[in-house]
């Protein structure tokens, strides 16, 4: 049995607690939170040992691993303290807000051969993993465009009372919603080499962004767009959707459903004939040992345990999560810097209007636009 503790008992920490507590290979030793109220109730009714100071807990308890689910701003400090004590660490997303610090923690964990995982749970959703497999099989050919969208109802009023509405605490749609979409793009098509045209816009919030748009450039002429908005209550809960276009077809995928359009079928993928094929979560999802709120939340915890048991590398780790923070960080930099937009003014009609034969080739137009807005290059050196 691996001895586990949880630090931070908000929505995510409590949800982890309910799964950790019943995992057959984990023994929940203690929990830690700054709210004495929540701790008192848990201690009275679930008899779990509680702490208000994580340093005291780490010093006092014999542990194998910790789950960190505090507000984002505290992740780095707590993770560093846990690594210092040679504990395997599962940290909630978005991991360290500063990608430089994140990569440093990744170095430490890797050097110490400690399992390090971050709660980007979409990497454990069956439809997205099937998409990854199909992309690796090159089913839809060379990708040329991807679109990642995430919408949901988090902020629907100007005032919020928690850290999620404060920029200094790592609040805002960028590190909450966008990071999921960025992480999925990184997972499925690789990290972009540049971002441009990023917009961080407020819909309701005073201090943070509520909707984010950006253009990504990947290698080999692949471009992507990202659109995320956490002020959209037309969605019952967060919804993440990816659309990918390749030289041999396209894929639309969300948590429930995978729609694949294939131009020329490939013999090794017999299940995907010409035209549309639809696969559903019901047939793709593997069973989990315990279900609270979606198989992926259970699966990621079990994956963490199995990585500890086998010395494996987590599917979503400190390094991949730092890549995600890096892209988010560059998007913010891109949005902050002043640039000269290409103005759209009235154009005098030319003879033979509608005939585009004399216009510039589309590709050079795109390139010149990109040059004019100045793509923010991504380097992590």
């Amino acid at each position: 049995m691996l001895r586990a503790a949880i630090i931070g008992l908000g929505k995510m920490g409590l949800s982890h607690q309910s799964m950790v507590n019943v995992h057959p290979q984990l023994k929940l030793i203690s929990v830690c939170d700054s709210s004495g109220y929540v701790l008192d109730v848990l201690s009275k009714y679930t008899r779990v040992k509680t702490y208000t100071d994580y340093k005291k807990m780490l010093a006092a308890e014999q542990l194998d691993c910790v789950f960190v689910a505090t507000p984002s701003r505290y992740h780095a400090e707590i993770v560093a303290a846990a690594l210092e004590r040679n504990l395997h660490v599962f940290c909630e997303k978005p991991f360290a807000l500063d990608p430089g610090i994140g990569y440093g923690l990744a170095d430490t964990a890797e050097r110490k051969k400690l399992v390090n995982q971050v709660g980007y749970h979409y990497r454990f959703v069956a439809t997205f993993n099937e998409t990854k497999r199909l992309l690796e099989q090159n089913l839809i050919g060379e990708l040329h465009h991807v679109r990642a969208e995430a919408y949901g109802p988090v902020v629907l009023r100007p005032k919020g009372a928690t850290w999620r509405s404060q920029k200094s605490e790592g609040g805002g749609c960028l590190f909450d919603y966008s990071c999921h979409a960025i992480d999925l793009l990184n997972y499925l098509v690789g990290r972009p080499i540049a971002v441009s045209g990023s917009v961080l816009n407020s819909v309701f919030s005073n201090d943070v962004d509520d909707e984010i748009y950006s253009t990504f450039q990947f290698s080999k002429g692949l471009y992507g767009q990202l659109a995320t908005n956490w002020s959209d209550e037309s969605f019952r809960k967060m919804s993440v959707k990816l659309s990918l276009w390749g030289s041999n077809g396209r894929i639309n995928v969300d948590r429930q459903e995978l729609q694949v359009y294939v131009r020329s079928p490939r013999p090794e993928e017999a299940g995907f004939g010409a035209g549309w094929t639809v696969r559903y979560t019901t047939e793709l999802t593997k069973p989990v040992w315990f279900y609270v709120r979606g198989e992926e939340y259970s699966a990621q915890i079990d994956h963490f345990v199995q990585c500890i048991k086998t010395g494996g590398v987590a599917l979503s780790n400190f390094r991949s999560a730092s890549d995600t923070s890096l892209v988010a960080d560059r998007m913010r930099a891109d949005a902050d810097k002043s640039r000269t937009p290409v103005e759209v003014n009235g154009v005098e009609s030319v003879k033979g209007g509608g005939d585009l034969s004399g216009s510039r080739p589309a590709k050079s137009l795109v390139r010149s636009l990109l040059d004019r807005i100045g793509m923010g290059q991504i380097n992590n050196g």
Partner: protein, 299 residues
Amino acid sequence: MDRVLFGDNQFFGVNHMSEEKARAQSMRFQDIAAVIEVLEDAYAEGIRTFMCTTHERIAEVCDHFRRHAEKYPGFKFYPCLPYAHKYANAAAELGVLGAVRSFLPQENALGALLKGGMSLARKDVEGLAGLLIDAEMKMFAGVETPIIFLQNVATDFLLGLGFDDAFKIFNDHVRERYAAEPGFITMNAPFLLEKLEKMGLKNPIICANVNKIAFRMCGGLEAYEAMIVQNRCRLIAMSVFASGALPPQEALDYVCKFPQIKAIVFGASSRRNIAHTKHLIERRTLSGSPVAAEPTPRQ
């Protein structure tokens, strides 16, 4: 308990297979009149029980059935609470305690607030849970609610935490305050049943997925089948079509193989599908299954 119960996922944009379908449904049922029309169809087909969440729009449905009670003799509601997304969204916005506070009753202020405030201060979970249940049950005043369910997110969250007393608290409050029976919705039925029995809640009402592909049946098919044949709980089967992954006849052949299952809950949006599904269930129930293939109506 009736053999066939009518569910409400289709009315509130819940579809475990397709977001597009879910959106189309939430558009169609935007006007509560469309919901009531389908419920009237279900009533006309002989269905008498509506198992529903405590989504705020259900209040309008309750209003209708209260106002026109004489038109629907025998019609009853099985409320399933809490409406979890409301709490999850509020917890993200207000924090865990803030969310709890925001759902305590506002009106009839003095008594309720005092009691709520005192419950909060004394960490009196029984008192607090009672107030939250009462707040959700308000919309059902004056309609029949013989069984009140704890939603699966809440049941399974508490089950995982080991907050076993919560089931007893729910049981006691529902019985004392509403003279109703408690029910528990879960995705982990064999595990839950064990816990409930340990708490002294014998032969409980449990609503869980039952389908032959074991979709969201934690513990596995074998454990579920063993639990069913032991007949230690009054089981209501849900998600029998595994969100549409199974053809209706095949799905019902499997579920109706177990005479121990007390009821089947399903959702549908047209009278034709309601009638067809109800007929399929009843034919299997009366004749013993499996029965010969029947034509499926076009969707």
